[in-house]
Symmetry: C2
Subunit: 390 residues, 2 copies
């Protein structure tokens, strides 16, 4: 009946959000979403921070309209926060508070993309970016992935072929694979971006969730030409429900992002921003990470053991040093998609690997989240999947 815009043609719910509907079933074991563990949600700390906001007079500026750039104290503490990934020498005009990392992707698309423009992504990549690109009628092209991340030869070839407006990367504990690009690869990517004058969107919600290996500096920390937009998110380290993140970029880019953010949600909830700011300033992050990272390491290890125990021999999976996901592929080429419905009927949810591929043309994989299940559920769930796939 209604005449919707062209961008709505063929736009369907993204795979993960669709699976959400099933997750209300309390019997469902979910390896689907990227949800933090319930024990990793710092409810008591946030309660204290919230009480303090209300006790102080600060609450009035939080409850009132604020600047589109975001709650000023969080922009300040955000400058300190991103030093953890090596980003130095930035000022307030390099920062923008965003309504979750997702909004950083959406606004980047808005300021750069015309209908028909191209974006390069690692294949497989974060499913939501493919969904967002459709809402801009833009084209996503997948770049091959090696064991240590995006293949730079293929990247160069595809930059030359497609002239992308930007390259979207999750270089640390990538979604869905959990891969982390080594420093040399990061430098190579940056030099390609400089040579061919391309912007990079570095999406980094996971780097603080490192439970093994050595930290690698962000691509943004190596950027001397202002072409890297860095998105971080407080969803995985504080709370996803409060929808708060931070974009760091060249002031010219920030000013354009601000213009578009004005036209979408005016500004991010100042209450959310004030809680994130209190968390960072209060020194709660390190104790929080110290508490949750051993739990996540244990869960990842358990899941890998269960995979070895229950899944067919040709199912090979990644072994990340952080993040929330394991990605597995049937080396025999077995199509994993057909089993999805059976798995849901047997009360186990995961995400089909195919949904993470730009062209939707690779069918032998699945993404498994280990953070949001109990240890017992990990074993039971993998046992069920093992039977289904066996």
């Amino acid at each position: 009946m209604f005449q919707f815009s062209d961008r709505m043609n063929g736009l369907s719910a993204n795979a993960i959000r669709e699976i959400f509907k099933y997750l209300s079933d309390p019997e469902m074991i979910s390896f689907a979403g990227g949800m933090p563990n319930r024990d990793a949600l710092p409810a008591e700390i946030l309660n204290e921070l919230s009480e303090r906001l209300f006790r102080d007079k600060k609450i009035y500026s939080v409850l009132q309209y604020g600047a589109t750039e975001g709650y000023l104290p969080l922009r300040e503490s955000g400058i300190e926060f991103v030093k953890r990934v090596g980003i130095q020498g930035i000022g307030l005009d390099n920062t923008l508070v965003i309504t979750g990392g997702q909004q950083g992707i959406d606004l980047t698309c808005k300021i750069f993309l015309n209908k028909g423009d191209c974006v390069l992504v690692e294949d497989p990549t974060y499913v939501a970016v493919l969904h967002i690109l459709k809402t801009y009628e833009a084209k996503a092209y997948g770049v091959k992935s090696d064991a240590d991340g995006i293949n730079t030869d293929d990247l160069e070839e595809k930059i030359k072929r497609y002239h992308p407006k930007f390259i979207y990367l999750v270089p640390t504990f990538g979604n869905p694979t959990g891969k982390t690009y080594p420093l040399e690869k990061r430098k190579k990517i940056l030099s390609l971006a400089e040579r061919y004058d391309v912007v990079i969107l570095e999406d980094d919600p996971y780097s603080h969730l490192r439970f093994g290996g050595e930290p690698v500096p962000s691509i943004k920390s190596l950027d001397t030409t202002g072409r890297v937009i860095y998105n971080t998110s407080f969803s995985k380290i504080i709370s996803p429900g409060i929808r708060c993140g931070l974009a760091v970029a060249d002031p010219e880019i920030i000013s354009k992002l601000v213009l578009c953010k004005q036209a979408t949600d005016v500004h991010t909830s100042a209450l959310s921003a004030a809680l994130a700011d209190g968390f960072l300033r209060g020194g709660y992050l390190d104790p929080q990470l110290k508490k949750i990272l051993p739990i996540y390491l244990e869960k990842k290890t358990l899941m890998r053991e269960a995979i070895k125990k229950y899944m067919p021999k040709d199912f090979e999976c990644t072994d990340p040093n952080g993040g929330l996901f394991i990605f597995g592929e049937f080396k025999s080429g077995k199509c994993a998609d057909d089993y999805f419905k059976t798995a849901l009927e047997n009360k186990v949810a995961y995400v089909k690997g195919v949904d993470f591929y730009a062209a939707g043309d690779v069918h032998n994989s699945l993404r498994l989240n280990f953070s949001n299940s109990t240890n017992a559920q990990i074993d039971t769930g993998m046992k069920i999947l093992g039977k289904i796939f066996g």
Copy 2:
């Protein structure tokens, strides 16, 4: 240096957000923004509601990822809430929690507008909608306004001429004029929309701020064909800083809005939504309105008196029964734009009327907000403006 998208060409900060920068000056008297009075921000109630959330186990579902449709309890209490404007017989699938009323406008544009599409607005209209339309490379055409709102003859003529995708209206205490359309006009608008098969976006952040006259049912409450999208906001009655509102529409439209919302901020802050829900369910709204409406009436009355006392004789202004704004015009046709800088230098801010006109071609007016100043500031500020314009 960067190759931005076409939509960024000529996109500049919207007038009100730009003025925000000056408002940090504590000496500035601001008649500019649409900010609630500080005394109207229910900090103590929200503190109690927040404590309760944390005390209950409810906080864990608030801090975790949620459904894009929004925090379920607020969608439920929202159904009750919109009965206040006569909207009956709707279900959950008619509702979507939004990140402020502004996001409702943005998402409506996203689902309906292709580049070059037309939207009709009342002239003058809410400045942000003109800004949002630019980000979709859509065209806004202004429809003449009478003393009681949009002129329906001109509306019909422009529907026939421009074939708009939708008509954007603030029919109750409209921004910027404060006008409220009578019931007969609402019925006429709806019948035109039906005859010419056009969608209506009814933006209603102000109707609960009525301090005089009789309530008029919303256009949505009269809609039997599902073509009215109704946006409400908790910004003016609870807090703008938490960025929370509700869209009510036909389920088919809601499902499209959800697809686009997934691709922008995943969902609205569940903390903000839970506070708004607690406020509605706790029965706090009526006492809150009883407290603030007499204050707003007093301020509007004082501002009109000060206008009469200080402003030139040819300055005629609206006398709204609610909302936050008075709109004034120099009947002599005097250009008000040139005085704006002088006013800022003299520490009084307002918004130039020209910014609210679709074509930016009417220069003899200004919008004055009365809610966010002290009574003394209203007198002092108008006295200063009187001298400047005198």
